[in-house]
């Protein structure tokens, strides 16, 4: 009955109800598409050349040099591995120091049933090889100073991760009643013996490690070389790298590697983007030419008719 009542009135004569809203009706005509393709293609080729050249100029010898360690066949992106962490611990909530979340299992308690802080697989598998780089000048080793600051995301360091509040002015006391992760040589509050501020959950190496890699073959930033004679890059010469080997990779067929690289505006060396832009750009140009030919023929035959 309601319907009848409504429909007895004349429908509204508005543009919307009559489906006559003013509309823009784009037509991709050849006149737009061909120049469009040409312009896009040329622009892409330009960007591609820029990218490619930039990528090619990225070398080790110009500073600042970045020191990466790389792991392969290492699955930081396992799902179980990824959830095996307790964010509340890492944000400094001591309540969770006593009873870590279940997701950390089997890395929640040690054999004495003491809670592990930081718990979980990610923290436990923290990469703990250390490296020292020397330049060999006339047979003597000169230590290249490595800068461990600013290797983790700013927000991770300043906002996301927090140390527990100090107990009696000591970070170690805050970790009372907890156990260090099994794989760690030292507890969290002693990660960096040289710099008191680089300890606990705010250790930059730890933060870098906690940001899980996307692929099983990955690199992580270890140090930057920004100081002294090496601020402008590593001068040519002989170098020696001392590796304190702690980290097991052989039993899962993993590999470790060390990468020295500088970065540009586009990040680290990566030819992919430059090549991709060059390919797509030239594809666009080629297609615009093909379309021009087709269009000319089509138009020609149209005229005949």
């Amino acid at each position: 009955m309601k319907n009848e009542g409504e429909s007895s009135e004349r429908p509204d004569n508005t543009a919307f109800t009559q489906q006559r809203l003013p509309a823009w009706q784009p037509i991709l005509s050849a006149g737009i598409v061909i120049p469009g393709f040409l312009i896009i293609g040329l622009a892409f080729i330009g960007i591609g050349i820029g990218l490619f050249l930039t990528s090619q100029t990225i070398q080790v010898l110009e500073g600042p040099v970045f020191f990466y360690y790389g792991l392969s066949n290492y699955y930081q992106n396992f799902r179980k591995y990824g959830v095996s962490t307790d964010y509340y611990q890492l944000s400094g909530d001591t309540q969770y120091f006593k009873s870590p979340q279940d997701s950390c299992s089997p890395y929640s308690y040690d054999s004495q049933n003491k809670p592990i802080v930081p718990c979980g697989a990610i923290a436990n598998s923290f990469f703990n090889d250390t490296f020292e780089l020397y330049q060999i000048i006339n047979g003597t080793k000169k230590l290249v100073p490595l800068d461990g600051k600013g290797i983790a995301w700013w927000t991770d360091y300043n906002i996301k991760y927090r140390n527990p509040t100090l107990v009696n002015g000591s970070l170690a006391n805050a970790f009372d009643g907890t156990s260090k992760p099994l794989n760690w040589p030292r507890p969290a509050y002693e990660l960096d013996l040289t710099d008191q501020n680089n300890n606990g959950f705010l250790n930059q190496d730890f933060l870098v490690w906690m940001r899980r890699a996307a692929l099983p073959q990955f690199r992580k930033l270890y140090r930057r070389i920004t100081e002294g004679d090496y601020a402008a890059g590593l001068p040519a010469g002989n170098y020696s790298l001392t590796v304190h080997y702690n980290y097991q990779v052989l039993n899962f067929d993993g590999q470790k590697k060390i990468i020295f690289s500088n970065v540009s505006w586009m990040g680290g060396k990566n030819d992919f983007l430059g090549i991709a832009y060059l390919v797509v750009g030239s594809l666009c140009v080629v297609m615009s030419v093909v379309m021009l030919i087709v269009y000319a023929k089509f138009k020609f035959s149209e005229d005949d008719v």
């Binding site: 009848e4 429909s7 007895s8 004349r10 509204d12 004569n13 109800t17 489906q19 509309a23 009706q25 991709l28 990218l51 699955y75 992106n77 396992f78 799902r79 179980k80 591995y81 990824g82 959830v83 962490t85 964010y87 509340y88 944000s91 979340q101 089997p106 697989a121 436990n124 598998s125 600013g150 995301w153 927000t155 996301k160 870098v208 899980r212 890699a213 996307a214 692929l215 099983p216 073959q217 990955f218 690199r219 992580k220 930033l221 039993n251 899962f252 540009s264 505006w265 586009m266 990040g267 680290g268 990566n270 992919f272 983007l273 991709a276 797509v280 666009c284 297609m287 379309m291 089509f298």
Partner: protein, 989 residues
Amino acid sequence: MHIYKPEQEPAVRSLGPENLLLKGATLKNTKKIYGVSVYTGMETKMALNYQGKSQKRSAVEKSINAFLCVYLCILISKAVVCTTLKYVWQSKEGQDEPWYNQKTQKEKDTFMYLKMFTDFLSFMVLFNFIIPVSMYVTVEMQKFFGSFFIKWDNDFFDPEIKEGALVNTSDLNEELGQVEYVFTDKTGTLTQNNMEFIECCIDGFQYRQRDVRSELDGFTVTDGPVHKLQPKAGVEKEELFLRALCLCHTVQVKEAGSEETLGDRLDGMLPKPEEERGFIASSPDEVALVKGAMKYGFTFLGLENKKMKIRNRQNDIEEYSLLHVLNFDPVRRRMSVIVQTRSGETLLFCKGADSSIFPRVRPEEVDRIRLHVERNATEGYRTLCVAYKQLTAEEYMVAETGLQDARLALQDREEKLMAMYNQLETGMSLIGATAVEDRLQEEAAETMEALQGAGMKIWVLTGDKMETAKSTCYACRLFQRGTELLELTVRTLEDGRSKREERLLELLRDYHKRAVQDAPPVRTGVVTRSWCGSQEYGFIIDGATLTLVMNPPRDADASLYRSLFLQICQNCTTVLCCRMAPLQKAQIVKMVKNSKGSPITLSIGDGANDVSMILEAHVGIGIKGKEGRQAVRNSDYAIPKLKHLKKLLLAHGHLYYVRIAHLVQYFFYKNLCFILPQFLYQFFCGYSQQPLYDAAYLTMYNICFTSLPILAYSLLEQHICIEILLDNATLYREIAKNAMLRWRPFLYWTLLGIFQGLMFFFGVRFLFSNPALQDNGQVFGNWSYGTIVFTVLVFTVTLKLALDTRHWTWLNHSAIWGSLAFYVFFSFFWGGIIWPFLKQQRLYFVFANMLSSVSAWLVIIILILLSLLPEILLMVLRKPRGPLSRQKKPGQSNVGGIPSSQSSARPLLMRTFSDESNTVILTDGCCHTSLLQASEGALLTGAVGWDHQSSLTSADLHPLRFNKTQQRFQLESHDSKSHKTAPSRHFLL
């Protein structure tokens, strides 16, 4: 029923269907009645009809289900592949449980097959987003909101009844764009059901009502309302005929005032204008007849106390007491009244279809009248014959008691009554015949032509006579001059030589040979049929023959008959089924509906007798006509006029179909390229069910980021604007047979989704071969990876829709750009805050960090472009075959063309050639060509000036028509525009 009154013998009265007051009946002429309610609650028609209605499912939904099965298979196979590979991969030493990711004791203890099963289920959960659950919500929303556009359409508003279209279901909007068969009722649908008395024939003499409208024959100008022909019938006959018209009906008079003072009218002092008198009857024919009699001087004044009053030509009141009404029914096809004059004579007046009257009157009377009846029928008029009979007192007494007994019979009442009626209605004498015109609906011919142009096959299902129906078909241009008519009626069956069954088979075989085998192999549907070249066929069948076809005497033949019949019908552009019972209409619809390819059927009708076919067809359309609301209530859509069907199908239906088809394909596509990267990621994360995207993105993708643009598209898109759709009916064929939801387009969309999914994933994968993407050398992690892929994904699928949008209203703009803006805003917001309720702050600052990387920007841009590139290319290359070329040559494809306003105003003009000249009947197949030639000859010599008003002999019938065509030709030649647009008139040249 026994009636007891004090001091009287109990009287016995019968109760029959005529005593039943149906729902919605109103009380009049009396203050109160006593009644018993029967059929209440669940037994009411409404409740009984309720179930059958809600089961209509559209073809689109069937396609959705098919696609869903495919995607379900994809989902399962993805999960199976991942589970298998996981265990293959794990079998390698050291992969399953590296030292950095050891299992808990519980996991180690779990039974291997159980682990596999849970892994399988985990993959299912991970990939389940490929099933577009939100599509169902969107489809429902689209249908619900979309149906408002039909209701709101101003073009459907009819100022006469002050109503617009009515949408009873929103489930079938898109089905309107898929109609292949249109079943239409004739009376009230093709025609207006607005009867007008045209002429009568009394005792073999023609009386024609002349008025302004018939100026086309204007040789003679008459001053009076009645033009009497030269030799005319005797006055007694004339008056008897007019009395019969005045008495033999069930019309009631509706007075303006409640009780008109009879005295005034008796004096003749207050000549009330008769035209204002309202008549109410169940059948508009009767009103037309009574009004016709009024014009000839006999006015029916009303029925009071079983007395019918008539004012005759001398302004005297005649009174007749009504003794019995022998009701009309479709089987007898006639009705009678028994009245008694003042002088005590008992008269029986009977009127009915010629076929039912002629056998009951004296044969010598028939011949004179049959001629007129047949001519009138071919002219498209509804003809009725009137007969009468004088009953002697004894005869009446017998009849009286017989009728009384029959009415009171509790068993076989119908049969007994019928027998009694038949017994009474014999030996009558024929007085005359009437012709009533049922005018065509506005723009009926244009509408039908447009529908045919759109590739629909039109079946006219009517209860009317074949001749009447056939001429309506000609008038509606359903049959055209070139149409070869295949007739399968009682008439063609009975040629006397062989038995009906044999003849039927013979005819079926022959027609099948003509229409199916000899016709060039034409694929209907997607391939556009060149319909100018090939021969068109029309098929005519009547109810009796149909019964024979559907239920042949030998069951073994049933399937043969049916398949022959169906194949013939499918190759005919128009099929006319006349003399149909309502149930037969539904039977036909059902048969076509279930035939091969299950075509989409549409029924349109206005009366209660169309309800069964409206309910049976895929789409039922009711016309808000004069025969009550029953059809409207049972329909899916109701429109005020037939002409609205054109816009409903060609514009609304087409658009809805395109919209929903695109919506469905798009949903499957966007979910495929959404989940494919997640699937591919499993190969890089040790098949560990690691999600690529954050949970918030997984949830919001379908709900917020990509739902509004497609909803806006599916409500507002007009890929071709409405005017062009209406002007070019052939455009409808491009979407016929579910063209946009077949496997090919589905495959295209699926491949597109796969291509884009591969692009997204591997593009970012190669970028991440060096994850140091920031200019400060810091590296990106897995959530950055997922966010980059997701950003590319959201932009690509939205821009893909933007590419497809041909009709950008401000709503589309706001939906598309708004969604993208919302995505960016949401990502900032989601990553900008440490959410206290989250266990892991996985996305914290990921999005902002991503945007700080130039490489991420560049990869996003190039991946979006690369993903859309094939689409753009296809669009450009496909262009020449697009609407551009359509506009180039409007003359060829313009079928529904510019509406020529004339034709429906003067529908009779179109009825030029004799139906017989085109009809193919086996026995006189050769003579129809000679007739054609003869007609051309007549045209050349120009038989002008034929006085067609003089009485006609059979030989004169054709020249009369030529005369008309000749005049028509002259008319047309002045009007070159209408000449062009109406191909059916070309034959005149």
